[in-house]
Amino acid sequence: MSQRATHAMILLIGTLLGLPLGYLRAQKSVNGGSKIMSQWVALSQYESLALLQYEQSDLPHARQALLDVLKFLDETEASNRVGEQKSIDGDRGLTYMRLALLEQKTNNGDLSRDYIRKAQASFKKCDGKEYSDADLQKLMIKLDSSRSDSAKK
């Protein structure tokens, strides 16, 4: 084999070895970001539609929209599309709290307390902190009233 052919062969072998290395390196650095972006865009869109329904429609439709968000979050986890687990847990906690407030309005005290417990568990999973019922209710009232205030303006 001529010297030129030997060098071409070495170049080719180097390229073939470098290809999977580059692919794996990119996979490690890009994959997480891409997943987080997809999750963020899909979840925020799904939740914003459900939130509009929660704020603007009657009680059965509002409840249905929130329960559907919980199902969407479960499916996102089950289908391995989670980019950031904390944001899933946080969103789940907020949804449970909205359901709890909704059930409070209809005097479903037991169901409301059950949702609050689930919200506390989700927030604990999210940031490791224990929130009391009162803290969470205050937080939700503040969050949702600031949304409705800006809508009225």
Binding site: Q3, T6, H7, A8, I10, L11, L12, I13, G14, T15, L16, L17, G18, L19, P20, L21, G22, Y23, L24, R25, A26, Q27, V30, N31, S34, M37, S38, V41, A42, L43, S44, Q45, Y46, S48, L49, A50, L52, Q53, Q56, S57, D58, P60, H61, Q64, A65, D68, K71, F72, E75, T76, S79, R81, S150, A151, K153
Partner: protein
């Protein structure tokens, strides 16, 4: 004048320095065989590494529902998830740039259809009427700007009907329009450094 160097590492190195410039140009580098092989292997590895990165990046971008046009496929939940991601990305563009051309709106329409198609098999019931009503309002806003009263009235009417079926307290198109304008403003403020609207 070209100078010729010899060393233990390099067989022949020919350098040319144009008269009076003081700058050296490498004309020819004839390396020892093992050095040439090492350089070839290094170049090959670097080339392969770059190609591997590019290959992965192109594949990821083309499969990311938020970055490419919606061609959702797969099972029910994949359709819903990818449709929602595409719809979210289109809404970001519409809110941030005020863009509402037919291309963008038909992309939104396609994404909503993907969500609808996947919802039942996935056992989900997303409020698709709201997404459709919002799309109708964006069409009405564009029609108003183009002084097309007929399309505007049709789109407003469609939005109101959809809000009725979603059991809203206020089913007027004007109400949803106000919510969309406000949400676009808030989104722009949140995504602009310093919190200023564009």
């Amino acid at each position: 004048m070209a100078r010729r160097y010899r060393s233990a590492e390099v067989n022949t190195l020919v350098i040319w320095q144009p008269a009076g410039t003081g700058i050296d140009f490498l004309l020819r580098c004839k390396m020892r065989n093992w050095a040439a092989k090492a350089v070839c292997a290094g170049i090959g590895l670097a080339l392969g590494f770059a190609m591997g990165c590019a290959l992965y990046f192109v594949g990821t971008v083309s499969n990311n529902p938020a970055l490419t046009r919606a061609h959702p496929s797969g099972d029910g939940f994949s359709l819903v998830f990818e449709g929602a991601a595409r719809l979210g990305a289109d809404e970001l563009v519409a809110a941030d740039s005020g863009r509402d051309d037919e291309n963008l709106l038909s992309n939104e329409d396609e994404a909503i259809r993907a969500i609808e198609a996947g919802a039942k098999p996935a056992g989900l019931t997303p409020p698709v009427e709201i997404a459709r009503a919002r799309l109708a309002i964006r069409r009405a806003i564009r029609a108003e700007r183009n002084h097309d009263a007929v399309v505007q009235a049709e789109s407003d009417g469609q939005a109101a009907r959809l809000l009725q079926s979603a059991a809203w307290h206020d089913t007027s198109a004007a109400h949803l329009r106000a919510l969309i304008v406000l949400s676009d403003q808030q989104g722009r403020r949140a995504r602009t450094p310093g919190g200023e609207t564009k």
